[in-house]
């Protein structure tokens, strides 16, 4: 193979031609997204279906979803470096890579969403210090810096790069103090995940999202952080499984997968209890105090019914949590993978309703439900990060030692 010298020792990869063919297939999707992105930048946000009802739309849902799913990086880092779960060293590289993709995607989507990305620095220089979104921007940017720092040593461990003395020492030194970076990342993640939830929770003019809370923080602040820590590792496990299926190899040992699934399951179980309590209190106290019945939020429209509440809490929360906290459930690959997929769908639904159902539900007596359909440009730019992520994973899987257990699990004859 033309690139054999770059491939890690002890692993087998497909031919270079097949690799390029895969890149080209995903690259075509990427180009479609880039075209839509350029339309949005050059022609403006009139390319979207956002309007006075929907200042937040598909992009913000995608942002919140990928940030929650990317939470696997900070929580896995927290578990490995700060609580000493050393087994997770076998999946932490992939968690960091997935986190890096998720957060860079979130920043890319925001760069399209702001309409004028050349002025993105205004949020730092002319900061509105009374806005939760400012805090989100600060923490998101800083945490992306942390993820980049966590990702650099992995790149430097490429066979050829690691031969360069400076890079070899730099990677070693970065590993030495990674706990400091991981702790900073956990701190930053706690606040930006929370503030994303806080943005919905403080909307006192939107009774669907509004929550009471502790001091300045609505309950959604804590629920968002908690859910990111609970569901993020499930996304890491899901992408690991997809990578195993595509590569046709076992890449991580079952004890590592089961440990992360167990921790994720218990986090999810505690989260979903808190979420159910929050929902009952909101439905029986908070919403009625604003003049609404809970049924007002789930009837008289073509899409949002009680089914979405059941899908989020029961199917996307209770069921996967019960499977993952049970030894028999998480040891059974079919049950475990089903739970992981349900959990990922569950947290995506949660972010969807907190962004889009919040905007859709009528508030005034003369209001009607305002349903929204994204334009193709919004869809293409939302698919763009998926293609970008797939390409980055393909390149990293081929050239970097992402899975330390791969040579042992797949010996070359």
């Amino acid at each position: 193979m033309i690139d054999a010298a770059l491939i890690p020792i002890g692993v087998k990869r497909c031919s270079f031609g097949k690799f390029l063919l895969g890149l080209a297939a995903v690259g075509a999707v990427l180009l479609w997204g880039v075209y839509a992105m350029l339309l949005c930048w050059f022609k403006g946000l009139n390319q979207t279906n956002m309007n006075d009802y929907y200042g937040f739309a598909l992009w913000i849902w995608a942002d919140l979803a990928v940030i929650a799913l990317g939470g696997g990086a900070f929580f896995s880092g927290f578990l490995k470096y700060l609580t000493g779960k050393d087994e997770l060293k076998n999946i932490i590289n992939y968690a960091v890579l997935i986190g890096f993709i998720c957060y860079s995607s979130a920043l890319l989507i925001l760069a399209i969403d702001v309409g004028q990305p050349l002025r993105s620095w205004f949020i730092f220089w002319h900061a509105n210090v009374h806005s939760m979104l400012t805090e989100v921007a600060f923490c998101l940017s800083c945490y992306f810096g942390v993820l980049t720092i966590e990702f650099i040593p992995l790149i430097l461990e490429n066979r050829q790069l690691n031969k360069i003395s400076f890079f070899h020492h730099l990677a070693h030194n970065m590993h030495e103090i990674m706990a400091v970076f991981a702790a900073t990342g956990a701190f930053l993640s706690f606040f930006h995940q929370g503030s994303l939830g806080g943005v919905s929770g403080v909307l006192f003019g939107r009774p669907f999202a509004y929550r009471e809370g502790l001091f300045i923080w609505p309950w959604t602040f804590f629920l968002f952080t908690w859910s990111a820590a609970a569901y993020g590792p499930c996304f890491t496990l899901m992408i690991t499984k997809i990578t195993e299926l595509i590569s046709g190899k076992k890449l991580v040992k079952d004890n590592v997968i089961e440990l992360l699934a167990k921790i994720s399951g218990w986090m999810m179980a505690t989260y979903i209890v808190a979420k159910i309590i929050d929902t009952i209190y909101w439905a029986t106290v908070t919403a009625p105090s604003k003049g609404f019945l809970v049924s007002d939020f789930y009837t008289n429209n073509a899409f949002y019914g009680f089914w979405i509440l059941i899908a989020e809490i029961l199917l996307g929360g209770v069921v996967p949590a019960l499977i993952l906290i049970t030894p028999a459930g998480r040891k059974n690959p079919t049950a475990r993978n089903t739970a992981i997929v349900l959990a990922v769908i569950g947290v995506c639904i949660n972010r969807w309703v907190m962004v889009l159902q919040t905007m859709a539900a009528p508030v005034m007596t003369f209001d009607k439900w305002a349903l929204y359909y994204p334009s193709w440009q919004e869809v293409a730019t939302t698919v763009l990060p998926v293609a970008y992520g797939a390409i980055l994973i393909m390149i990293c899987y081929r050239y970097l030692p992402i899975f330390p257990q791969e040579p042992e699990l797949n010996p070359i004859d």
Binding site: K89, F124, W125, H126, A127, V129, H130, T134, E135, F138, C139, C142, G145, V146, I149, P153, E157, S165, F166, H168, H169, L170, A171, H172, N173, M174, H175, E176, I177, V180, F181, T184, F187, L188, P404
Partner: protein
């Protein structure tokens, strides 16, 4: 934003928000500077030892 910018106000919000930002950036900056400087020193010592990171 820095305290010498015209829009800066010495209130709790500015100190917490901007203080938090600069605090996080300082940790990351010092950490990376330490890694780079130590890598240059190690390289000068000719220490090419393989430490085994994982």
């Amino acid at each position: 934003m820095f305290p010498f910018n015209f829009e800066w106000i010495w209130d709790m919000s500015h100190m917490v928000f901007m203080g938090g930002l600069w605090y996080a950036l300082t940790i990351l900056g010092i950490g990376m500077t330490w890694c780079i400087v130590k890598a240059i020193i190690d390289m000068g010592k000719g220490d090419g030892g393989h430490h085994g990171h994982h």
